[in-house]
Symmetry: C2
Subunit: 148 residues, 2 copies
DNA sequence: TCCTTTGTCAACTAAACCAATCGGGATAAT
DNA sequence: ATTATCCCGATTGGTTTAGTTGACAAAGGA
């Protein structure tokens, strides 16, 4: 299960990816476009900034920008940063503090590994660019609003 | 992430599967063999009983038995019973109360579906019998202890 | 009959986690 | 200076997890 927070993080990055090259986007805009509680989004974007995913501009006309090009940014990276290692159970995520009481000779291990592999494969092969393209394909090309 | 409780449930059913046909197994035995806190296992087995996975015998020489043959019992069934529907996010588990604020036209949906499919496929194609066989293959054939 | 062994059940709890919110501060553009 | 925007730490309320407790019921043997 990926947490609500992580889904928000992905949606926010996707929104920034859609607008990459167009200057900073405000928290409030991202929040509205993606239906994310604004103050919570603030926390999330700040975390993503520390993780090197986005950068920020302060003051009037400030906002957030994607640091890296969407083509090279995978969903897997984002999930791992927000949630920690991907996997159905602790003993299979490489986390050394997690240990089966059965010391690695548990019959379930193979199955957990299969799941971890399958899930990682999907997340690691989906880039933000893929999502933006899918979005455009559906006719939701981003049209900036110049006037109010 | 499958919970500790669910892992215990699977290990307990596996232990019963290993001994199926040999009469009831006591909670304490299962607990020791699988390193599960005994009083917690009590709760879990009782729940599995209500779900029709096991049955019980009370009194001296009582214990628990698997109801169905291990060949037809999949890990997927057990996980769904203990944890609810399988899937990385709520909007993809068929749960009708879960809804994206974007009304099903979210670009992430396809990816979540892929993950749900891949995970379910692994869990639904693994039976308890598969696990018992894997266990025997590793030379851990169950040898009942007749004397004490 | 009575005692021991086993499962049954409902309630309880401590800790962790999640999703958010709040209040105030810093910085940049106009 | 004023306003718009991000920055940061603390706090909250609710839910979930991983168990524990204690009293009870049934089966079987002495």
């Amino acid at each position: 299960m990926v947490s609500q927070k992580c889904q928000y993080a992905l949606r926010a990055l996707f929104e920034l990816a859609k607008r990459s090259g167009l200057g900073p986007t405000k928290i409030a805009e991202v929040a509205e476009a993606q239906a994310i509680p604004p103050r919570f989004l603030e926390v999330i974007l700040s975390q993503l900034k520390h993780g090197g995913f986005v950068e920020s501009r302060r003051g009037a006309e400030g906002g957030y920008l994607l640091v890296r090009p969407p083509r090279g940014l995978t969903v897997g990276e984002v999930i791992r940063f927000v949630e920690g290692p991907i996997g159905p159970v602790g003993c299979v995520t490489g986390d050394p503090k997690e240990h089966c009481p059965l010391h690695g000779d548990c019959v379930f291990l193979g199955m957990w590994e299969k799941v971890r592999g399958a899930v990682s494969e999907v997340y690691d092969s989906t880039t933000l660019q893929d999502l933006v393209e899918e979005d455009r394909r559906r006719g939701r090309r981003y049209v900036p609003t110049y006037a109010i």
